[in-house]
């Protein structure tokens, strides 16, 4: 029994369990980070933050003051980061969709500010379903009005789009239809257009409501919110632009108030006005994550994560986090593909240098350093120097080559030389030494082949680690490195043939 259990619990079995466990763990952490910290899978390094400021101005008339101001709610597109009110002496209360300010009786001009910080909720998925509204009350029209309404509806049907769109287009027609002019009050405003369309929709049994919102644009000051119309069609609310009839939320638009409630109610004041201003600022996504964590009561976990470190340390760790993936590539190249490279991790180090230098400049640089280095090393081999001094001399030569390349390329205004300084000097010296020994012992063909295989491995690694998205994901979801660890260990139990062996042992197959 125990024997059977033992044969079942092989290394591979244990590693498979670990791999599955680490996948589950990483999966949970990814879910957690996306949900509570707002991490996304795309490398949005920066996130826009919008500051909307509402300036409420009115004259107090000596009675107790109560101000009720509509405010934006967190939506799928925007999340509230922070909000505050500047209203000295007022008692403040922030509801889900309104801000209530109250104070004792006052006189004179009053100014209160409400400020809200919103950020792009770029990773939001899915929409919350709104409850279906009740059937609207039919408007009470006189016989004459009814006739005109019918005529407008029949005129509208000649326009394109669905009914609200048809009506909006009809009302905005230039020159206007006489029937429409007769139907509307003398002074045509967006508001009464909206109200009348809403009535006509109600006449046809379609529920609708007004919505006020703000178009988020940089440095926008002192403006009134835009009015839009929402109609409930085919089981969902649709938003209509009242001048163009376009459906849907315009880009960078935030609704601050919906339905019958007013934008601003003031008791104990007169001549009220509200002006909005919008300011855009940019912040680091990871900084924001802390605030998001706070909003979702996950502050502590965030404080102890790498994203709370100073930026310098973060960028160092970000660079480290991509190593395991590069190592996996090397392990695959050597144990699965079966390429013989110079030194185990030399290709990886070359790839890292290539990322910093750029591919073209880096490769050219590598070829130049290798070429000159081999030439110098060939001269050294005639001198019969001892090993350590000889390799040291090669190191110094590599440094000198890099120095001259930098100088010359600066003179010719190219960036190839600066690329040179990113190559790991000691590693380059050893690659030169090894290549030159292989050259002497096994011929130029074998030496070149080894260099080319190393470059192939380096390029395979480069392709993966130069990808910004992959680097970002390995940093933002660094639990994946545990998965990689077990993957690498699993590769350590791979006993199948290497790809190169399929060719090597081909003659043994009849």
């Amino acid at each position: 029994m125990l024997e059977r259990l033992k044969s079942f619990v092989t290394i591979r079995f244990v590693l498979t369990l670990c791999l599955i466990a680490s996948c589950l763990f990483a999966g949970y952490k990814i879910y957690y980070k996306v949900k509570y910290w707002g991490f996304s899978f795309a490398p949005h390094e920066r996130t826009d933050i919008w500051t909307i400021e509402a300036d409420v101005n009115f004259t107090a008339n000596g009675e107790p003051i109560k101000i009720s101001l509509a405010k934006p709610q967190s939506s799928n597109e925007y999340k509230i980061l922070d909000e505050d009110i500047v209203a000295p002496g007022y008692k403040t209360k922030i509801d889900k969709d309104r801000v209530i300010l109250s104070t004792a009786a006052r006189e004179g001009e009053q100014n209160v500010y409400y400020r809200i910080l919103l950020f792009d909720n770029q990773d939001a998925k899915g929409k919350t379903a709104a409850p279906a509204p009740q059937a609207p009350e039919k408007p009470i029209y006189s016989e004459q009005e009814k006739a005109i309404a019918e005529e407008i509806l029949s005129l509208a049907s000649k326009q394109s789009g669905d009914l609200p769109q048809q009506l909006i287009r009809l009302f905005n027609q230039v020159p206007p239809e006489p029937t429409v002019t007769a139907f509307l009050p003398m002074k045509k405003t967006t508001k009464n257009v909206a109200e009348n369309i809403s009535k006509l929709l109600a006449y046809k049994g379609i529920a609708s409501r007004m919505a006020r919102g703000i178009k988020l644009e940089e440095e926008k000051t002192a403006f009134s919110p835009d009015l839009m119309l929402e109609a409930y069609l085919n089981g969902r609310w649709k938003l209509y632009d009242l001048t163009t009839g376009k459906i849907g939320l315009p880009k960078d638009f935030i609704i601050i108030q919906r339905g019958g409630t007013s934008l601003l109610d003031i008791a104990g004041g007169e001549d009220s006005s509200i002006k909005f201003s919008v300011l855009k600022s940019v912040t680091n996504t990871f900084n924001l994550a802390g605030k998001r964590a706070k909003l979702s009561n996950e502050q502590q976990a965030y404080d102890h994560s790498i994203y709370n470190l100073p930026v310098n340390q973060q960028s160092a760790i970000k660079w480290l986090m991509v190593f395991p993936l590069a190592i996996l590539v090397i392990a695959v190249v050597r144990n699965f593909v079966g390429l013989k490279t110079m030194g185990t991790f030399t290709p990886m180090l070359i790839a890292m240098a290539l990322v910093k230098t750029g591919l073209g400049a880096g490769l050219l640089c590598f070829v130049i350093i290798m070429g000159l280095g081999l030439l110098i090393r060939a001269l050294f081999s005639k001198l019969n120097l001892l090993l350590v001094p000889r390799i040291s001399a090669v190191v110094v030569c590599v440094i000198l080559i890099i120095q001259y390349m930098t100088e010359i390329s600066y003179r010719f205004d190219s960036d190839i030389g600066t690329a040179a300084s990113f190559f790991p000097i000691i590693i380059m010296a050893w690659v030169i030494e090894r290549a030159s020994i292989t050259w002497e012992e096994e011929g130029a063909f074998n030496a070149c082949r080894e260099i080319i295989y190393s470059l192939i491995a380096a390029l395979a690694t480069y392709v993966i680690i130069c990808n910004e998205t992959i680097r970002y994901i390995m940093f933002a979801f660094n639990e994946l490195n545990i998965v990689l660890l077990f993957l690498i260990m699993m590769l350590g139990t791979y006993t199948g043939y290497r790809l190169t062996e399929l060719k090597r042992f081909r003659p043994l197959v009849k």
Binding site: E442, Y497, R498, K503
Partner: protein
């Protein structure tokens, strides 16, 4: 497309059917399993191997001396003054790297078998390179081993372009399982590496006779340079070869082992060196996969036999 591919590549299932042992499987299933890490120094250090071999009654080339430190290098002349020929080897070398053979020497010049004349300074240089680890496995500081040159039997004279071929025997759990000899060619630059173009001759493990000769993966019948008939090779003292190989198991405790054996004209088969990670080229030379043979050993071969009994078993089964 597929046809073209199958001309150059085998499928994994074809290789499996042919019983070919792959590098990964060799490392994981055999080397990691049967070769304990702490036993490696016994075979990686040629001085230790020699001492051990002596204890087990296996003949090896006589040790003249070792040079461990740079300043001892000047003792070389004293060490070799009695004999004509000698060999300098790195104690931790592998695959013949850093082996310098001196056929004759006088006060200031050293002559190699190919007739190249080296100055004392050049030989000194070679020793110094050896000590600083240029030829050793991990590049660590090394010891130079000076040993007597084998008085090679002339039986193989015609079979190799340069140098003297040795016989490589793979030993699994004490049983010699597969053997080959590697013959240098002009194309291989006088080296005995198959991938460089040397000829590999698979030897029948029961008789030491040619099974098959291969050069650059193609079957051949005659040596490309010496034109010797490769199909008629029969290694003399074959049982003695097998016995040395079988004893290497008791000597080292390594379950998967390669033994390189040369034939001395006077002293018979001699063990040159052992290898704890023998390569897989022996399969190509024999045209047979190792996996099949190893499986057979695991399944049917009796355990706990003496080396002599194992050799007898191999010869009769």
């Amino acid at each position: 497309m597929f046809k073209w591919l199958s001309k150059y590549f085998a499928t994994p299932s074809q290789l499996r059917k042919a019983g070919i042992l792959g590098m990964n499987r060799r490392n994981f299933k055999f080397i990691a399993k049967y070769n304990k890490r702490n036993l490696y120094p016994l075979v990686d250090d040629k001085v230790q191997t020699k001492e051990l071999a002596q204890k087990f009654g296996i003949t090896t080339p006589r040790l003249i001396g070792t040079i461990e430190y740079q300043h001892e290098a000047k003792n070389l002349k004293d060490m070799v003054k009695d004999g004509e020929s000698f060999v300098i080897k790195p104690a931790h070398g592998s695959g013949g790297k850093g082996v310098l053979v001196i056929k004759s020497h006088d006060e200031n010049t050293f002559t190699t078998p190919s007739g190249r004349v080296l100055s004392y300074k050049e030989v000194y240089q070679h020793i110094s390179n050896t000590l600083s680890g240029l030829y050793s496995l991990g590049g660590q500081y090394d010891t130079a081993v000076i040993e007597e040159m084998v008085n090679f039997s002339h039986i193989f004279d015609n079979y190799s372009y340069q140098g003297i071929p040795d016989v490589r025997i793979i030993i699994y759990r004490g049983y010699p399982v597969m053997a080959m000899t590697r013959l240098a060619t002009a194309a291989s630059g006088g080296r005995a590496n198959l991938h460089q173009g040397a000829v590999g001759v698979g030897l029948d493990i029961k008789s030491g006779k040619t099974l098959k000769a291969v050069m650059r993966n193609q079957p051949i019948t005659h040596h490309p340079d010496t034109n010797a008939d490769l199909t008629q090779i029969e290694v003399p003292f074959w049982t003695e070869h097998l016995l040395i190989a079988a004893k290497a198991y008791e000597m080292t405790g390594l379950g998967y082992l390669g033994a390189d054996i040369v034939l001395d004209a006077d002293k018979g088969p001699m063990m040159l060196e052992l290898n704890a990670r023998p390569g897989l080229a022996v399969q190509i030379a024999n045209g047979i996969g190792l996996s099949k043979v190893l499986k057979k050993v695991d399944k049917y071969y009796p355990k706990r036999l003496s080396p002599e009994e194992r050799v007898a078993y191999v010869l009769t089964h």
